[in-house]
Symmetry: C2
Subunit: 266 residues, 2 copies
Amino acid sequence: MPKIISVANQKGGVGKTTTSVNLAASLALAGKEILLIDMDPQANASSNLGFKLTVQDNSIYEVLTSQCHIDEAIFNFASTDIQNLRILPSKEKLAAIEVELVEDLSLEERPFLLKEKLDDLKELENLNNFDYIFIDCPPSLGQLTINALCAADTVLIPVQAEYFALEGLSRLIETVEKVKDQWNQHLEYEGILLCMTDDRTNLSKEVSEEIKSYFGSKVYSVSIPRNVRVAESPSYGKPVILYSAVSRGAYAYINLADDFLERNEE
Amino acid sequence: MPKIISVANQKGGVGKTTTSVNLAASLALAGKEILLIDMDPQANASSNLGFKLTVQDNSIYEVLTSQCHIDEAIFNFASTDIQNLRILPSKEKLAAIEVELVEDLSLEERPFLLKEKLDDLKELENLNNFDYIFIDCPPSLGQLTINALCAADTVLIPVQAEYFALEGLSRLIETVEKVKDQWNQHLEYEGILLCMTDDRTNLSKEVSEEIKSYFGSKVYSVSIPRNVRVAESPSYGKPVILYSAVSRGAYAYINLADDFLERNEE
Ligand SMILES: Nc1ncnc2c1ncn2[C@@H]1O[C@H](COP(=O)(O)OP(=O)(O)OP(=O)(O)O)[C@@H](O)[C@H]1O
Ligand SMILES: Nc1ncnc2c1ncn2[C@@H]1O[C@H](COP(=O)(O)OP(=O)(O)OP(=O)(O)O)[C@@H](O)[C@H]1O
Ligand SMILES: [Mg+2]
Ligand SMILES: [Mg+2]
């Protein structure tokens, strides 16, 4: 049974997609079987791995609206360097789901649409050999993120070491606790990851310290520095470890993958 | 009649709140009467100006749900340095509006809830002397952003000079054109603003060039450099021009205010 990890934070631009893609790729490079699900209508995770979908292609939208079976929307990442990374991509149309869910499903059914589809996956022998499934969430606490939290075993929270991101953290924790109480009792924290840190500024250091003192061991000892190679890699359709393996950004995500495996496989 | 400008971009973390707050403050400092409306449940614009609302306080949520009249939710920015900046703050509860709008209002009525409330403002003599009203939008193209676009005369689009932000721009333009066709014929572009630029990286320069070549004169000649003083100012409850007036960030927003007035008042 694969472990399902949602990567979530309603604050925009904190590194959710960058972390989903680069942690998934680093773990695949370490030999793990990985599925990355793009649950954001912006479809940044999909394009970061070179997927630009047309209206005919299947995506998470067709899966959630039962227009296709989940295994018909899973694609291989086209790279000879990483064999075991697959993706369930997104498209713009997914934005319509928020309204469709409210109109079509009852209050009790809405949060579990994605979970049901992932349960379908478990019945399919050939697809069931994933070690980890990552879900990249949009910058909101709407139905898409709620569905991801209800389907997940754990939640990984990227945080930018800045003021607004710190402020939003308490609201995210409230939402996670609510989801845990009402819909998904076994939801736990995978960890809190400091992203785009800059050791030259007091702001970054002070906010990082504040988060570490508040959340203790939940915070990964590895933090991801701001590194232009990380921001460049999506335009080449690659994770940063393939685009610029010797960069500080690639190095940090490889360290994160080590830390992740230590927490999960020891 | 005040001019209404929505500050929108569904991509997260590109500088919507920072631009709304600092452009509004710079224009108020230049003697204009300004109202800033926070239409984001994250309430970052509110906290950037020192407002932390309790459940009893009125906010845009109480206005939209007709629990109070619009003039009962407008507050003065508490600073002797800037007299003519007022704010209609937000609170977390606003997130519930997305679902409430779908359940309570018809498809035709949903986009115009904010516009109707702002029309109420026009009837109130004492409040009608605003020169400009800015609306800070959340990172999505849901009902809150649609309402802001339907209430606005123009839309100001902050863009980060990075790959994902560039990709999302075409989707935002599609949405603006759709709103223009279906609901708000006179909606125009106020301008496209490059935020968090970094002259030391090729990525920032290349993406900036691409945006300028595509959008031409719609792009402000002023761009906002990445400057740590800008990111520090919200933790002091102030716009950057009051927190650190001699910083590159403050200087850029003052230049933007000049450019904005040239486009609007000549
Ligand atoms: N460590 C890093 N160094 C430099 N740039 C980074 C880093 N991490 C992310 N970025 C860049 O910062 C921007 C925001 O990151 P990203 O899009 O991953 O955040 P997000 O939380 O997924 O955003 P959204 O809320 O829109 O989904 C992107 O342009 C990305 O390329
Ligand atoms: N010019 C700048 N220099 C340095 N930091 C900046 C600058 N502009 C914005 N920031 C910081 O970058 C982060 C993102 O900016 P901001 O919150 O304004 O974006 P946003 O588009 O409103 O985000 P959201 O999508 O969550 O609403 C914030 O922490 C902010 O303080
Ligand atoms: Mg993202
Ligand atoms: Mg904002």
